[in-house]
């Protein structure tokens, strides 16, 4: 089958490439309906990765957050038109201990391999999950939510039992979804969000408290913390957490940084802190994300609030517009995929 792949060939240059797509009996073909732009995609688009990385990974179709409809299933297990969420992580082996998203052999769509910005997505049938009764424009946030679910599972496995006060650093999309998941999962815990934008913090109405990072009460302490900042803000955020967190607390690291981050390891040792690395998500995390939204319908309303922009995509110019708009949006930019 000939497919159209909308690949970033160099910063801000997306080109439609025609791809001779092999289809195996274990694959399904999905027509994407909604795609969402992630900060990682935006960094590629704007050329904010190192020259070596760009040279190594491009040309590549961006986007790893997408939902769509089944248009072809050779085994006829999925009915035509079934709504599915697409899973970007693709394992090539199984492991009894290590999760699929941490296996070094797994490959990830839109990181070295084509992402979902294609007319049709040919993918393994084990990399899609059907959903119902959830609007597509909300369902496109499942991937982001699955990342939160992955962090939650990790946190529940390794953190001590006292969970009276949980702090979330970062008032972007990851911080929003993580704190929403924590609020529902630990209804008796106090969820406090720390951010740099008063305007964005106003969206976190479900949280018990919100604070600007330069205006935190001196005696405030948290039992555990989630760092959802990333980038150049990682260092300040992690070190502030180390200062504020109670002894033997866990710090779930979720923000991606291009550079090494110097942190106060002396205090990590003195307080006996646990740093938990979290990255991406796997099949079960997606299932948990779907279950979460089905279980807490009100979460759909909050998720809808962080869709800053919805842009209908009919050609490459529209894709450029979406990325340009996204650069100045507070939260998520989603693309209604009609190309």
């Amino acid at each position: 089958m000939i497919n159209q792949s909308y690949r970033l060939v160099s910063p801000k240059q997306i080109r439609c490439e025609l791809v001779d797509e092999p289809i195996s009996y274990d694959d399904v073909i999905v027509r994407p309906t909604y795609l969402a732009i992630c900060a990682a995609d935006q960094r590629y688009y704007m050329g904010k990765r190192s020259t070596d990385i760009l040279k190594d990974k491009l040309p590549m179709a961006l986007i790893h957050e997408a939902v769509g409809e089944i248009v072809f299933d050779p085994k006829k297990e999925f009915a035509h038109g079934t709504k599915v969420v697409l899973i970007p992580n693709t394992p090539v082996e199984t492991d009894d201990i290590i999760k699929e998203n941490y296996l070094r052999s797994s490959y990830f769509k839109s990181s070295g391999y084509d992402g979902f910005m294609q007319s049709l997505v040919v993918t393994q049938r084990t990399r899609v999950i059907a959903y119902k009764n959830i609007p597509d424009r909300i369902a496109v946030l499942f991937e982001l939510m699955s990342v939160g679910m992955n962090a939650l599972e990790h946190f529940e496995s390794y953190s001590h039992m006292r969970k009276q006060v949980l702090g979330v650093w970062g008032c972007g999309s990851v911080g929003f979804i993580t704190s929403l998941i924590l609020k529902k999962t630990f209804p008796n815990a106090e969820i406090i969000v720390f951010g740099t934008s008063e305007a964005k913090l106003r969206y976190f109405q479900f949280a018990d408290e919100v604070y600007l990072i330069d205006n935190i009460p001196p005696d405030l302490r948290v039992d555990h913390a989630f760092e959802c900042v990333g980038g150049s803000g990682s260092e300040a955020a992690i070190n502030q957490i180390i200062d504020i967190i109670n002894p033997e607390g866990s710090i779930a690291l979720m923000g991606v940084s291009e550079n090494n981050v110097p942190i106060n390891t002396r205090m990590v040792l003195e307080k006996g802190l646990t740093l938990l690395g979290n990255s991406r998500s796997g099949y079960e995390d997606f299932e948990n994300a779907i279950n979460f939204v089905e279980r807490y319908p009100e979460a759909q309303e909050y998720l809808a609030n962080i869709i800053s922009d919805e842009i209908v995509i009919k050609n490459v110019r529209d894709i450029d517009e979406a990325f340009e708009e996204d650069a100045s949006n507070d939260f998520k930019t989603i693309m209604k995929w009609e190309i």
């Binding site: 000939i2 159209q4 025609l18 791809v19 001779d20 248009v71 072809f72 038109g81 007319s119 040919v122």
Partner: protein
């Protein structure tokens, strides 16, 4: 009901050093016509796909389908006509004889040698085709069009902003298309090589949907080489 008709009726000009009709030449990993048919198979709204090809190539076409799309039984191969419009009409007659043809039934006709047609273009043809009598797929004209009615003297240079280049698919209400064709004189049938033009000449309303620059027709060896060159592999 929605039908698709893949027009592979002509033997065409000899391309390169082979007499094999162009639609059977390999593009990437498969014959051109298989790539084309696959795009139509992805739209479940299409009830039947009719492939029109020259009489001598019907068995070859059927074997090609068996080889590349063995489990698909929604495709039928019929004989094409002497002209493009006759081939389209053969498809319409086949539908009339084998199905319960209704007023609103449409046929999406497409060149077998335009393998880069997209799902979006087919979807748009169906969606718009269900609401009007005829649909043409076009792209904005990039070159200036020059009209010469008499030899080498320019009679007109139309405003490029309102000029489009026709591609396929073209989509029609089947009954209306048959009626228009039957109303043509033999002379008109000889001149009107484009089915949408028949509707326009008979004062019918033909809507347009946007094609793609890459929805090219593989006509010459140059086209074939370019198409093979631009076709890429999946990077996983």
């Amino acid at each position: 009901m929605i039908y698709a008709e893949i027009l592979a009726g002509g033997n065409g000009r000899r391309m390169g050093n082979t007499d094999l009709p162009k639609q059977f030449m390999i593009l990437g990993t498969k014959p051109i016509i298989i790539h084309t048919i696959e795009q139509f198979l992805l739209d479940q709204r299409i009830n039947k796909i009719i492939v029109c090809c020259p009489k001598n190539w019907i068995s070859y076409m059927q074997d090609t389908l068996k080889k590349y799309i063995p489990e698909e039984n929604n495709i039928v191969v019929i004989e094409g006509g002497a002209t493009r419009n006759e081939s389209i009409m053969n498809g319409c007659k086949y539908i009339k004889e084998n199905f319960d043809l209704k007023d609103n039934d449409i046929i999406i006709t497409h060149d077998a040698v335009r393998p880069f047609v997209t799902k979006r273009i087919i979807d748009d043809n169906i969606t718009v085709g269900l609401t009007c009598d005829a649909v043409d797929t076009v792209v904005p004209c990039t070159d200036t069009i020059v009209e010469c009615k008499k030899g080498d003297i320019i009679s007109n240079i139309p405003d490029r902003a309102i000029m489009y280049q026709g591609q396929t698919p073209q989509t029609f209400k089947i009954k209306k298309l048959m009626k228009v064709y039957e109303s043509l004189t033999d002379e008109e049938k000889g001149i009107l090589t484009d089915a949408c033009k028949m509707f326009v000449m008979k004062k019918g309303k033909v809507k347009i949907v946007m094609g793609e620059d890459f929805n090219v027709k593989v006509t010459t060896m140059h086209d074939y080489k370019v198409c093979n060159a631009i076709l890429m592999e999946r990077n996983k």
